[in-house]
Subunit: 314 residues, 2 copies
């Protein structure tokens, strides 16, 4: 098999299901396999079996990408690099994922959070093509964000965990929140489970005129307010189950954001352009698996550039 | 004059004073000139006179850096790139700074906010040497932050304006805040003028056991909480007049932060290392002018790299 036809492989590790994907992008997906996220050793063996089978059928892949639920360890110099670390998911605490699957496949391995992967996929193939600085937020079972700065996901001493910032409450909102760590952080206030706890029925079934949405939209607008004043993304994509089921939220969040920023930042994105600033992502339910593929593609580029840079600096 | 002896020039444009600086770094400052920030045309002409004189005495500079109070326009493709834009400072709205002073000097020009400049100076010469991801926060007349990601200041659709995020209030804190845009954003709650409005005396004179500090420390810890979960800096430097006069704030903020994060992020920086994580900057009152010099140094590197990259990509 010639190198030109070699493929990328991705694994999206989710809290409830894992998706393995083989291809080169959204228009060239050769295979997708979904399996439930169960007991850790069994799950990882099933993933390895899929990857082994693909290698037997299609030959070695160019690179592997892993987009994982977190928190994960992304410190390159850490003995637990590539691990899922302090997760509350039973049995998955301190699990080597990246090195294990990487050894299995050989070649470059990309590893990042699921939301960072989804953001990078939007930048490579989706609604963020051409943007170097943007953010992808998922509002679903949890709230998470991928912040892309100069085309890359942010990593300092840890990855972004924007879903756990605390936000100002709308007057009259007395809901205590559902986050086991923080109570009323934004995930505790506006994630799917939080909305269900507020309203007594699943977020997807809640009518748009239910009063809970005022509190949820206010909270999400506060999250976006902080994002605008921090990394100042050129566009903010709001995805996940809650946003895709309740599209009325977009305009509510836009209006709450304008009120909250109160014209402090002078930018067309925040005035006449607000409807194009806070928008739905482009890849829909494929953002997660394609995120893993995007991480593979980035890992391949990084491994190809490294020797060039070393040579140039001689 | 040989190129090896050519110098860098910097201008820190502050709300009350401007500082012009000539040299190559903190150990090689050849000249510093301070002048009050008055009427705009007069002030800019005085700065130009200083730069002209330096050029006559020392020859052309390698590059000029300008670190300015803001908001400023940093969009490279904007017709008002390099302008001070929507400032509340009388007479300075919509003022071309970077292009005007750059034309005067010739050569590469670096332009950024004063806090981004100070952060870059800390990274180049101060307490952040060796760190690629960190943050510099000033708590003084206002609250502002420079967020450094992969060695560079962040710029998306705008520069960071972290001082205007809204934070959760400590129970019992009824102070309405002093920000003309947002009332009780963090600048409205914990800047020098806010503290003076709370306590009826200047922040620098307030005794450490004054009850206002509980509210101020709580607010600043909330700011840091958001920073930890957003760009996750490897270290956070807290400078400015309030922090340098009231050093008891460091430990209060550290303890409030630990309480607020509640061990959600597992990182040594946030446990036994907290005393080394939230610290004072290293350059003291020279951070501002050295920030302008750091912007000059970065502009020189960028202008030298650009032709190399173009050549390498052919």
């Amino acid at each position: 098999m010639s190198p030109a036809t070699k493929l990328l492989a991705g694994v999206e590790l989710g809290g409830t299901k894992c998706v393995c994907i083989l291809g080169t992008g959204p228009d060239d997906v050769r295979a997708v396999e979904r399996l439930p996220t169960g007991e850790r050793e069994e799950t990882l063996r099933q993933i390895e079996a899929v990857l082994d089978r693909w290698r037997a059928q299609h030959g070695p892949v160019r690179a592997l990408g892993i987009a994982s639920f977190g928190p994960v360890d992304l410190r390159a110099d850490s003995p637990t690099y590539g691990f899922i670390t302090s997760t509350s998911k039973a049995g998955w605490r301190n699990t080597d994922v990246a090195l294990r699957l990487g050894r299995r496949m050989g070649g470059p391995v990309g590893f990042d959070t699921d939301v960072n992967g989804a953001a990078l996929a939007e930048g490579r193939w989706g609604a963020a093509v051409g943007l170097d600085d943007f953010a992808y937020v998922t509002v679903g079972t949890g709230i998470g964000a991928g912040l892309i700065v100069r085309g890359k996901s942010i990593f300092g001493m840890n990855h972004t965990e924007l879903g756990h910032i605390r936000v100002v409450r709308k007057a009259g909102d007395k809901f205590p929140g559902v986050c086991p760590y923080h109570g009323d952080c934004i995930e505790g206030l506006a994630s799917g489970p939080a909305i269900e706890a507020r309203a007594g029925m699943p977020a997807s079934q809640l009518p748009p005129d239910h009063p809970a949405w005022d509190f949820v939209a206010h909270g999400l607008a506060q999250l976006v307010h902080s994002m605008v004043l921090t990394t100042a993304p050129s566009r903010i994509f709001l995805g996940g189950g809650v946003m895709s089921a309740q599209t009325h939220l977009f305009e509510r969040i836009q209006q709450e954001l304008k009120r909250s920023l109160n014209r402090y930042v002078e930018a067309p994105e925040l005035e006449q352009g607000i409807g194009h600033y806070i928008v739905a992502p482009g890849l829909g339910s494929m953002a997660g698996p394609l995120g893993a593929l995007a991480l593979a593609a980035d890992a391949e580029v990084a491994s190809a550039i490294k020797p060039l840079v070393t040579a140039a600096s001689r």
